[in-house]
Amino acid sequence: MQVSNKLTPFFENLNFERDDNTMVINFGPQHPSAHGQLRLVLELEGEQVVKAYPDIGYLHRGIEKMAENMTYNEFLPTTDRLDYIASTSNNYAYALAVEKLLGIEAPRRAQVIRTALLELNRVISHLFFVATHALDVGAMSVFLYAFREREFAMDLMEDYCGARLTHSAVRIGGVPLDLPEGWLKNLASFCDKVDYELEHTYEALLTENRIWKMRLEDVGVISAEDALSWGCTGPMLRGSGVKWDIRKEEPYELYSELDFDIPVSDRCDSYGRYKLYMEEMRQSTRILRQLIPMYDDTEPQLMAHAPQYISAPKEEIMTQNYALMQHFVLVTQGMRPPKGEVYVATESPKGELGFYIKSEGEPYAYRLKCRAPSFFHTGLLQKLLVGTYIADVVTIIGTTNIVFGEVDR
């Protein structure tokens, strides 16, 4: 470690001036294509990357530390700030982990709403991916079109929970609100719109586009074995020919009742992953369409009945003394789950989002570990970037679809 003072400030022991032919450059943390606060230190030989060192931590807020100092319900809105592109999937992964710990299950209507929100978030996130990935590679117009549809999806989220980015739309034990009037009708028209635009706009603009193909084909190739070893999940793993989707293999919510396919690509490159994202959006709209008729057959109950852990509905709190007392204790002290540990994995748009919770029976989690897919995808960059050209670095960062809220936590 070098000794730093005012004249020779601490600079991470990096020697930018090399005696040999290599050059060291800093990519980020302010680079617009770095998807947030990624700093890549690249060692170049000519235009070829010989060594890549992803430096993260610029968005570190200590969310796991905060979890140890917050009651379980208090922490839920903080999970919004993990993967801020699709907040509901974080809320849901956390809520599911706590529910598994408590041994409760959300009522049917809440499950329908949650699954719909999760899939809507997947579409939002994937649209964001296509938009920014295309923008990074140089296709500006796709960005504008994709953000238009994303705006409609965010309007739907706003209609449901009032927020556009930080939803907190899922609670431990269910959902706080029922769907507003006409929401499902809007959802159906949104599905039609996305399906139409997918075929006629994004794919028409990109899939056979000569420049797009040249920039993406055989760029960022990762074998199935490497993908597994580096902890890749989600589209990064399926893009390498491994058919693994937690929604299918370890079904949660209503996924076991729904009919959908898992797209897999064995191209192992960025282009294959792009096609995968497009196909996943189609599958998401397919799931959303199936959920719409399911809603009407459900009872109106929205939160699980577990008075020890979860407050009674507002009506009961206002009319029954005991419910009010329970509610008071749960709000002021927080719920106390049983002693034990749980790891629950869910399929977030980016990959496997898991929460490990260690409970010692206190209202505060003893340890909470958030297994963020992007964290491991960022780690993969040090392998993936070696041997590629500097112009492809942006494409590869784009194709990993990393979001720094969950990399740094």
């Binding site: 022991n13 809007n186 070893s229 490990y356 491991f376 780690g379």
Partner: protein, 258 residues
């Protein structure tokens, strides 16, 4: 008398606990699943304790066996992915860490958690040769808990700056940060002697200092930085570019989403 505050765990604690409150435990089931039984058999001598907790097999091992156990799990039992690995701080209670590795078998769709207890100030063997995901995960353990990992190719802080002091996820580390953390930027950029001049960081995001003419305290009454604002006029004319004449009739509200 001053209230006693334990120094070994400064995390938030519940202010009231019912005297008769008995904490239940999540049920630990016996290993009966066919696949899990074969896993436990493959690791016969190395497993101290095994049970199923919430659908996943938990294996307790000795910390020195971690590489061996994970190698068997990877090569013989098909656990090809290490989803997650991290530590839990039990220094206050037992003076040791609990380390866990969360493994995934994608052909059987099964998950195993390998758990070990590591004594304070001792090192663990890296599993990076088996699972490359350990590269980042072990750096995070090192950063957050200060646990040394032997034979890691590049053991360096990952989330915190390299010249940081302290390990944030230890129970002894306060949520708001310690003395070093609160003066980190000042010490680094200006030097320790500037602490008195600059003063401690204000963490109240809503704080407005009337004397500070720079930071939005005088919106609408802006003056130059450090200028005297005591004699200025009170009637401020807003710029036309900001407040356009809003005509309700010319705008249209859609009845339905387009």
């Amino acid at each position: 008398m001053r209230k006693y505050v334990p120094k070994d765990n400064v995390q938030k604690k519940s202010y009231y606990t019912d005297r008769f409150h008995v904490v239940p435990r999540v049920p630990r089931e016996k290993v009966e699943d066919e696949h899990f039984v074969s896993v436990v058999e493959a690791l016969a001598g190395d497993v101290k304790e095994s049970y199923i907790e919430i659908g996943q097999l938990v294996l307790h091992i000795n910390p020195e066996d971690n590489f061996k156990v994970l190698k068997i799990l990877k090569e013989e039992c098909g656990y090809t992915q290490c989803s997650e690995q991290s530590a839990v701080d039990y220094l206050a209670k037992d003076n040791e860490f609990e380390l866990f590795w969360q493994l995934l078998n994608i052909t059987e769709a099964k998950r195993v958690r390998v758990v070990c207890r590591l004594a304070n100030a001792s090192a663990i063997e890296s599993v990076e040769p088996l699972f490359k995901s350990a590269n980042f995960a072990e750096r995070e353990i090192f950063d957050m808990f200060g646990i040394k990992v032997n034979n890691h190719p590049f053991l360096k802080r990952i989330l915190m700056p390299d010249d940081w002091e302290g390990n944030p996820l230890l129970k002894t580390y306060p949520l708001q940060g310690d003395e070093f953390a609160s003066w980190y930027e000042v010490d680094k950029i200006f030097g320790k002697e500037y602490r008195d001049i600059i003063g401690p960081e204000n963490r109240d995001p809503a704080k407005i200092d009337v004397e500070d003419t720079k930071r939005f305290s005088r919106v609408g009454y802006e003056v130059e930085f450090g200028a005297d604002y005591s004699t200025e006029e009170k009637d401020i004319e807003y710029s036309e570019t900001l407040l356009v004449n809003y005509n309700k009739k010319s705008s249209k509200q859609l009845d339905e989403r387009r």
